[in-house]
């Protein structure tokens, strides 16, 4: 092939291609437009992904949906620590995780009663075992069955404690303690309690809501105890709540840490009277839940989490550090 021919051919080719190139120019413009649209769509997909399955951000208060991957199941924080300069811990807790269910149990032994620590430990252990039995037996909970079940179990716990103290020839009244049970099932969240403390859950929109109203007496720090339960007083003393929703997180605490994480005292709208709004703090609980989710993403062991949580409850904030009352705070986050 001669050089001229090549040139001709190339020229011919170029010439013949010329109209196509003009088409290419148009197509390139279209491709650029399409690329821009794809980029825009990718950006939207990314935003949607972030909305649907974002990374937990420890410093933020809103707990994103999917903060904990579903395969992780329930992840949790649990600890009970003695109050500042308090020689003994009179709080006790249990946390039962079984499949899609989480049960949080908090008992606060009355500070002035000499066996209240033993009372709190007994009730926690008793109720923890009973609720685990129910879950394993496949009990289906509704608002009605929760009312019956919870009251029965609370009464049985009190009666079992009474029998034990009688067998040991001890004064049943000395074992007084409060009790909170928060039960998050597959499609409900329920609460039963006797006495003070706080409990709450995370609703679908990412807000923490209270699950109970503590029993408060006329005198400061006065409340009711498990040792006061009798068949006739059950309805009055065991307060109940049942919400048919699949909650993303639950929290239960004794009254010790409530001042740090719950809005419990403020003026009413008219500014004339101090009221208890009973509002869980999104800032506090949300940030803690996100830190738990972040730790879960790093595969932090439960032992390590428990130690960190114990340290936090002991001295994590000025109020917690100075609190003279015992502090128990359980938080479970569903994956």
């Amino acid at each position: 092939m001669s050089r001229d021919k090549i040139q001709f051919n190339l020229g011919g080719m170029l010439w013949s291609l010329m109209p196509k190139c003009q088409g290419c120019v148009r197509r390139q413009g279209e491709i650029k437009k399409l690329e821009a649209q794809v980029k825009e769509l990718e950006s939207k997909v990314e935003e949607l992904n972030l909305l649907l399955n974002p990374l937990p951000i420890p410093g933020q208060a809103v707990v994103p949906i999917g903060a904990v991957p579903s395969e992780a199941g329930w992840v949790h924080l649990k600890a009970s620590v003695a109050g500042f300069r308090k020689p003994i811990l009179q709080d006790a807790h249990d946390l039962v995780i079984e499949g899609d269910n989480a049960v949080l149990i908090v008992c606060d032994g009355a500070g002035s009663l000499k066996h209240s620590k033993a009372g709190a430990e007994f009730v926690v252990k008793h109720l923890g075992a009973k609720f685990l039995e129910l879950i394993k037996a496949g009990e289906v909970f509704t608002s009605e069955t929760w009312t019956v079940r919870a009251r029965t179990l609370f009464l049985q716990a009190a009666e079992a404690l009474k029998s034990k103290t009688q067998a040991d020839r001890q004064n049943f009244g000395d074992f007084g303690c409060t009790c909170i049970v928060v039960f998050a099932g597959p499609d409900f969240v329920a609460c039963a309690h006797v006495g003070d403390g706080r409990a709450g859950y995370l609703d679908a929109s990412g807000h923490w809501l209270a699950l109970m109203t503590p029993h408060k007496g006329a005198l400061a720090n006065s409340t009711v105890f498990m040792t006061m339960l009798e068949p006739a007083s059950l309805e009055q003393l065991v307060r109940l709540k049942f919400i048919p929703t699949r909650t993303r997180a639950v929290v239960a605490l004794s009254d010790g840490p409530e001042d740090a994480c719950w809005l419990v005292s403020t003026f009413n709208p008219s500014g004339q009277k101090v009221i208890d709004p009973n509002e869980p703090s999104n800032e506090f609980l949300g940030k803690i839940a996100n830190q738990l989710a972040a730790a879960t993403a790093k595969n932090v062991s439960q032992d390590a989490l428990d130690k960190l949580w114990q340290t936090f409850l002991t001295e994590g904030t000025p109020k917690l550090k100075a609190q003279v009352d015992d502090k128990t705070l359980l938080l479970a986050l569903r994956g």
Partner: protein, 229 residues
């Protein structure tokens, strides 16, 4: 090992506040054991307030003013947990009248702030501690100061209490004090005992007890001979 500690912002629950202005003599005559014991007493006082989280820790707002050759607001009224107290040092003379007036001004300003933000409050306290007598150029102001304190006490604007340390001219303290709260003389340098008494008394007041009953209830001779109410 994962060691990132948990962190969270505390909720600010409302508590009715009680403002206490400590008006302290830091003139040269307080040098040595007096100022050391006073510093120690204040530090113990703050520690005790902080530990009483259910009551004083949330309610008592402490302000500190010193007077010597000048009057200084060492610390504006705030809860003990936010008070960063640095030991006081001594210097110069005794501008007691200006110091007390600054204390009255401080609690008055705090009251106005409570009012403007819709907060309820307990009647504030102005507590003056001195081991001397006002500078000569302040002596002429004493009758006026006495009248101001009397009016403030009668109108229930504030409580005024004068504490004399060894060397204090008690007649002056008597002159400026109201009969509802007579001046007291500190036994030796028992500042810590005094502040413990103050803490207990204000704690009772902050729980709703009236001042007279709270003072009687907590009265003992640990730091003086008791109160006459």
């Amino acid at each position: 090992m994962y060691e990132k500690p948990f962190e969270a912002e505390e909720v600010q629950n409302y508590s009715q506040k009680c403002c206490v202005a400590l008006v302290l003599d830091t003139s040269s005559s307080m040098a040595g054991d007096s100022i050391d014991q006073l510093n120690f007493g204040i530090q113990s006082f703050l520690k005790e307030i902080r530990s009483d989280t259910a009551n004083l820790g949330q309610k008592l707002e402490l302000g500190i003013i010193t007077f010597d050759t000048a009057v200084t607001r060492v610390s504006e009224p705030k809860l003990a947990e936010f008070t960063n107290f640095k030991p006081l040092t001594v210097n110069g003379t005794t501008m007691m009248v200006d110091g007390v007036r600054e204390g009255i001004k401080m609690v008055g300003q705090r009251k106005e702030w409570y009012k403007s933000t819709g907060q309820m409050y307990f009647r504030p306290w102005v507590i003056m501690i001195t081991d001397g007598d006002p500078d000569s150029d302040q002596q002429g102001e004493l009758p006026k100061l006495s009248a101001e304190i009397r009016a403030g006490m009668d109108e229930e604007d504030f409580w005024f209490m004068a504490i004399g340390v060894s060397g204090a001219k008690m007649a002056t303290l008597e002159l400026i004090s109201h009969e509802k709260m007579e001046p007291r003389k500190l036994s030796g340098l028992k500042f810590s005992e005094f502040f413990r008494w103050l803490s207990s008394t204000i704690a009772d007041v902050a729980k709703g007890q009236n001042v007279s009953d709270a003072m009687k209830k907590n009265s003992d001779d640990a730091w003086d001979g008791g109160f006459k109410i």
